[in-house]
Symmetry: C2
Subunit: 498 residues, 2 copies
């Protein structure tokens, strides 16, 4: 290893390492250069000089020894040192002027102190049990099968798959989805009408910019989705949600030109849209030219019966269907699809741009292979079993330990709403936080303009915890639930501590 | 296979297939139901009924046979037929009323004629040779090495990698990039200051919304990037570009609070930013609190010398560095990174949202492994050899066949600008189209507000064609170039035909 101690005042190398003076950014101290690490000698010298400047050991304005001298000190070729100097001049670290030699440039200051840390952010309270709704069990991602599909898909892909992409997404996946969605969800479309996206929010944001006027939404829903629509320039108008789903008969009174629905499984309250309302919303769309946006976020997960097919199949010319792998496989894949009425395709593509900017091709190709080879069906079958057991466990545990807390909605999806007695939601959330439990209250899901009375409840995601941790999460949950309504014949249960 | 001919008027099955009457959507014709394909009998029956309704063979209002009758006809259980009817009622395909039996719902009309085709779009002229700038050779994507890295990366990843993602992107990739960018591009940062994005445009769009005021851009540049900035609410102000790169000394006069530069290799004109201007732009940013956005789109591809390091290293607190794999590996991966001054991190993350919505995790993890295992360096070395040879071939061919056409810029990247005589660009582009050659003219790259006089030129991407097709692409290019300026001593070369 080549070493040199550069004294920026003289050109005499000293014989002892002088690292302890490195705190002092003055121009007079000896500096230790070690050409360590990988790369050519020139690169190693450049790195050593940059580091010396960064750390303040070589202060701005410091004159470097002539390259011939340093070359002798380090025992390396003159050209190497001259090249490194020239390079660092070009990069702006050093400056070279006729007559005054090579100096550390005035602007090459050391990193500020906050560099290593990055910006400060608050430390969140530690979550022991994650029961936030909507995430699947990340530990169940089918890694081996996915990689096997990726290998086959990448081997079979044409070269142009790795070029600039079609904004609709890869044809292989759009073709596979056409068949898959018809078979499993009753969706009727063609590959030309499918546009891939990076997930539901991406699709919704694009639609929000293509549609005009206000858009009706269910009174209960994700505020994040309302934000996406409002960020796209739409006003959202709430529809009442009752035990038959969204009251679509309110649509004519809203003036809305589109409506966002979760027909298979109202999110989060959990009921399916009643068949009469499915028919009524299609009638409304046909009569007014309105657009129905169907959020089929967990359509593959129904446990008590075969899932109800998508509304989209009733009228592919009025209904936009959006799905993704975020619940079925992983939200980390960032892969979803919009099934569009023909008249909306060009508008969505114009917004998406001439090139595919969002969805990576390897996952698109892999998902197509994964579906076509039957891997996706197998995975869904397995996950249905897992989630169904968890939902049953949740229901059984509540029936035993908190019979006054009702689970609303149908047996489907990755979440359940626990209906709480009036004015107990806040206390239950506080108790949950004390248990290290992260979950959602129901009240934040209510649209702020909704005339509905806010109900108290908890929105529980049973998808996220790995199997082995689920029983403990239920224990913690039961401890956080409010007491049953008072019954003078019975003392309060002893479990309600803290 | 179970078959039945449903006569919607009577309940008698007929004995002959009557498919030829299927064009007639009246209620009186016999209809053929075949329970083909996969799935349970109930699913197959539902599919057959849906198809009959979709195709118009079962018209709206048509009464279906009682489920008992159909069950006998098909030789399947009554419950199966009853279940299928109930399901289709629930989905809205059928309607059931007390006393009037089960009928095809009034709103279940057949698909419109344009369904199979999707929206009409113009057929582009066929491209024989793709010399559009900026794309790498898609045929050189390192599939085998990539899959090997994906396998190792997915096997090693923690479970939470498949859960809802950090909006900064996976820590594995941010850590690896911190080291890689320091080693190869002289970038100084920490993993906390890197935010992954789906490519340069995504990063630029986020920045455009975080920055305020107008932003200076190089007079020559991608109009797409100006559009992204303007879409984010910024006004773009052009800086003159000369043979030392962008004239950053104009910055104080523009009133801009940020500047977008391509310091390593001005795009598209091809020169590096002069060291004095590198220093000057850092001085400007320090003096004014301005932000420099460094687009390092092809920093790894320099052929005549070692690449000049990133400007970012001179002052990580003033300079945003954006890079991606779009040139180095494939634009289809949709993977890039922003290296941010600490004060901009929170703003960018607030816009990006609380969850990672854009970049898929498998490619993030795979790229981290690909870099760490040395696969990325090997791939870049190989590609540098390929692109360098192509650039040399291009230069040699032009020197031999069109010595009057100058190649501007340094030997770097995936593109070259051919400088043309005044007022010949349009004709050259027309000639190129006739040759089936797709390439860009230089004029569209000029900012519409730039005071610079538009120069005529062609922007040639030599990255895209696969190796075996490159010589033919050059032949076509030479045929499209304008004649040399007239020289009475020399007759026009015979190659200028058509």
């Amino acid at each position: 290893m080549q070493r040199s101690w550069v004294n920026s005042g003289s050109e005499e190398p000293c014989e002892e390492p002088c690292g302890e003076t490195s705190e002092e950014p003055s121009g007079g101290s000896d500096l230790h250069l070690e050409l360590t690490g990988e790369g050519s000698l020139r690169n190693r010298l450049m790195r050593a000089l940059r580091e010396a400047i960064e750390s303040g050991r070589l202060a701005p304005g410091t004159r470097l020894p002539p390259y011939r001298t340093l070359a002798v000190d380090l025992g390396i070729a003159r050209n190497t040192v001259a090249g490194a100097y020239a390079e660092l001049v070009e990069e702006g670290w050093l400056s070279a002027r006729q007559g005054s030699g090579t100096r550390v440039a005035r602007r090459a200051t050391p990193l500020r102190g906050d560099m290593a840390r990055g910006p400060a952010r608050p430390t969140p309270r530690r979550t022991v049990h994650d029961l936030m709704p909507s995430s699947p069990d990340a530990s169940a991602f089918p890694r081996t099968a996915w990689i096997a599909s990726a290998r086959r898909a990448l081997a079979a892909a044409p070269h142009d798959a790795f070029g600039v992409g079609d904004p609709r997404g890869r044809i292989e996946l759009r073709r596979t989805l056409t068949e898959y969605l018809a078979r499993v969800r009753g969706v009727r479309t063609s590959a030309d009408r499918i546009v891939l996206c990076s997930g539901f929010a991406h699709g919704l944001g694009l639609l929000g910019r293509v549609l005009t006027g206000s858009i009706a939404v269910e009174s209960y829903g994700l505020s994040f989705h309302r934000d996406v629509l409002e960020g796209a320039g739409r006003t959202t108008v709430p529809l009442t949600v009752d035990d038959r789903g969204a009251c679509v008969e309110e649509l004519p009174g809203t003036g809305a030109r589109a409506v966002l629905l979760t027909p298979a499984h109202q999110f989060p309250t959990g009921g399916p849209l009643h068949p009469e309302r499915r028919a009524a919303v299609v009638d409304w769309a046909r009569a007014t030219g309105g657009v129905v946006v169907e959020d089929d976020y967990d359509g593959e997960f129904r446990y008590d019966r075969q899932p109800v097919g998508a509304v989209q199949g009733l009228d592919p010319d009025q209904i936009v269907y959006i799905g993704s792998v975020s619940k079925s496989l992983s939200p980390a894949l960032r892969l979803g699809w919009m099934v569009l009425p023909g008249r909306l395709v060009d508008g969505v593509l114009a917004l998406k741009g001439q090139r595919e900017l969002w969805s990576g091709v390897t996952d698109q190709l892999t998902l197509a292979e994964f579906i076509a080879s039957g891997g996706y069906d197998r995975h869904l079958r397995r996950m249905r079993g897992i989630y169904r057991r968890r939902r049953d466990l949740l229901a059984a545990r509540l029936a035993a330990q908190a019979p006054h807390v009702r689970v609303s909605g149908v047996a489907a999806g990755l979440h359940a709403v626990l209906e709480l007695p009036p004015d107990t939601e806040e206390a239950a959330l506080r108790a949950a936080r004390r248990q290290g439990l992260s979950l959602d209250g129901l009240r934040p899901y209510l649209h702020p303009d909704s005339p509905m009375t806010a109900r108290d409840g908890l929105v529980i995601g049973y998808g996220t915890p790995p199997d082995h941790a689920f029983a403990a999460a239920l224990d913690a949950l039961c401890l956080a639930l409010p007491d049953p309504p008072e019954d003078p014949a019975e003392p309060p249960p002893s479990r309600r501590r803290g």
